[in-house]
């Protein structure tokens, strides 16, 4: 979900003194608003979560339109706001939008590649009330980082992370993990320690969009995943209370699906650069769903009444084996995008689940990636977008 396509590890964490997020449809609120301000990005990450055809979507919402979206979502109860993209710093009105968001009471998170985050821009964002900064890294050293991102950014990322810490702003570092950098997990975590990160997201690649296109080059083996996991757990223990490390479970190597988005239309609302409203930033390519646009409808109608947001809400839409599975209340049948990409049916059980009749496709993908020669991945850039969309 980051500028470079990373997912968010722990969306909303209700806890302790707390009641949990209500599951009833009538009570749902878009607590987490992801504002994808633009698909423009100086990086070319091969696992980007933006749609393959992003280059054809250029009609970005105006500042005035975004302000209306922020107000309408806030009135519905949205509290966490991620400014993402593409690279959100590519929008000249970012400071203005942060100021408005802060005034409305949002907790504002900038999710960035750090390209464009110099001292002057950061000063302006901080003055506007920015609450936290999440910076992506592609690897632990310049050579690999810059090769994976398809741009020379490592030095800028280091500099930006230090600027954020120097101002006392909370710093999250997000690293999408895949075959090309999974051997570096220890070095990556050492780097996050050195930079003084408050939160770290080790975001296992999710195979949608560009990552699905490049899956054979990205998907690690089971042994590589288990080794990385062990290192992540070691650091979680070592830095308990100092740095919070989220490790996103690699679902292709699991027996049960992730509780994707905490349920469709339950807590997440993504607004794409052109105003398309999505229950998940990867949902845009699902067929047969007419995603509403904030240019035509207000956010309250979109959230509560639109057919697209109601399509997979609750449990009635489920097929066997999910329909009667006791775990449906925990995992919501997994991910709709993954079900569609791997079975052709968005209402099927997520085939990551060992109970899915189509689970073999996931096992085959893992075996295929392990056996695949290391061909060249397709970088996320306008030329490839026009070619593969």
């Amino acid at each position: 979900m980051g500028a470079d396509g990373s997912p968010v590890a722990e969306p909303i964490a209700p806890s302790a003194a707390a009641s949990t997020v209500p599951a009833g449809v009538a009570a749902t609120r878009p607590l987490w608003l992801l504002a994808e301000l633009t698909y423009r990005c100086p990086l070319q990450c091969t696992y980007c979560s933006n749609p393959l055809g992003y280059a054809g979507i250029q009609d970005e919402l105006t500042t005035v339109e975004w302000v209306r979206v922020l107000r309408e979502a806030r009135a519905l109860g949205a509290a966490q706001l991620g400014f993402s993209g593409g690279e959100p710093l590519a929008r000249p009105d970012l400071v203005e939008l942060v100021a408005e968001a802060r005034r409305l009471g949002y907790f504002t998170n900038l999710i960035t590649s750090a390209v464009g985050l110099d001292a002057a821009r950061l000063d302006a964002l901080e003055a506007a009330g920015l609450d936290s900064v999440q910076i992506s890294f592609q690897a632990a050293d310049a050579q690999l980082n810059d090769r994976i991102g398809g741009a020379r950014t490592f030095a800028r990322k280091l500099e930006a992370a230090r600027l954020v810490k120097a101002r006392g702003l909370p710093l999250t570092l997000c690293i999408v993990i895949h075959k090309a950098n999974i051997h570096q997990v220890r070095a990556i975590l050492d780097l996050t320690v050195e930079l003084g990160a408050d939160y770290v997201e080790l975001a296992t690649t999710q195979y949608y969009g560009w990552a699905k296109l490049n899956r054979a080059q990205l998907l690690p083996t089971r042994d590589e995943v288990r080794a990385a996991e062990a290192v992540a757990h070691e650091y979680q223990e070592r830095f308990r209370g100092k740095m919070r490390i989220f490790y996103v479970v690699p679902d292709y190597h699991e027996e049960r699906p992730k509780a994707c988005m905490n349920g469709w239309g339950n807590v997440f609302l993504t607004i794409a650069p052109d105003g398309a409203a999505l229950p998940c930033h990867a949902a845009r390519d699902l067929p047969g769903l007419d995603f509403p646009n904030v240019r035509e409808r207000d956010v309250a109608w979109i959230w509560r009444d639109s057919p697209a947001f109601n399509r997979f809400r609750g449990y009635e839409w489920m097929q066997a084996p999910c329909r009667t599975c006791p775990e449906r209340f925990k995992d919501f049948g997994g991910c709709r995008c993954q079900a569609y990409l791997l079975t052709g049916d968005a209402a099927a059980a997520d085939p990551v689940c060992a109970l899915s009749p189509r689970h073999q496709v996931v096992l085959d993908a893992v075996a295929e990636a392990a056996a695949a020669p290391a061909g060249d991945p397709h970088y996320r850039n306008p030329a490839n977008s026009r070619r593969f969309a």
């Binding site: 969306p11 909303i12 964490a13 609120r29 109860g77 966490q80 009471g105 609450d131 939160y199």
Partner: protein, 89 residues
């Protein structure tokens, strides 16, 4: 972890605020939220940098005269401190 001595305040990166849509107080932090029940909200609302633990208890006793709340409030402040929600002045 005992609550620190001296005035108590909400600690970075947490932000404490009232959420009208949820009809409760919450603590917001990077990409997360803690939904607070009524007691937790009332106690944290007093952690504004002007009172220590005893001052918070005294203030709550003004609101609820005669209530047996001191032990519970101290216990909650310890938990809140342990989770990094509050810090001493």
């Amino acid at each position: 972890m005992p609550a620190p001595a001296g005035p108590l305040a909400i600690a970075r990166p947490f932000r404490f605020q009232w959420e009208p849509a949820q009809d409760c107080h919450v603590l917001l932090f990077p990409e997360g939220m803690v939904t607070l029940n009524d007691s937790a909200g009332r106690i944290l609302a007093l952690c504004d940098g002007s009172r220590d633990a005893a001052g918070i208890i005294a203030e709550l006793l003004q609101q609820f005269p005669g209530a047996d709340l001191a032990g519970g409030v101290r216990e909650f402040l310890e938990v809140a401190h342990g989770r990094g929600w509050i810090a001493g002045g």
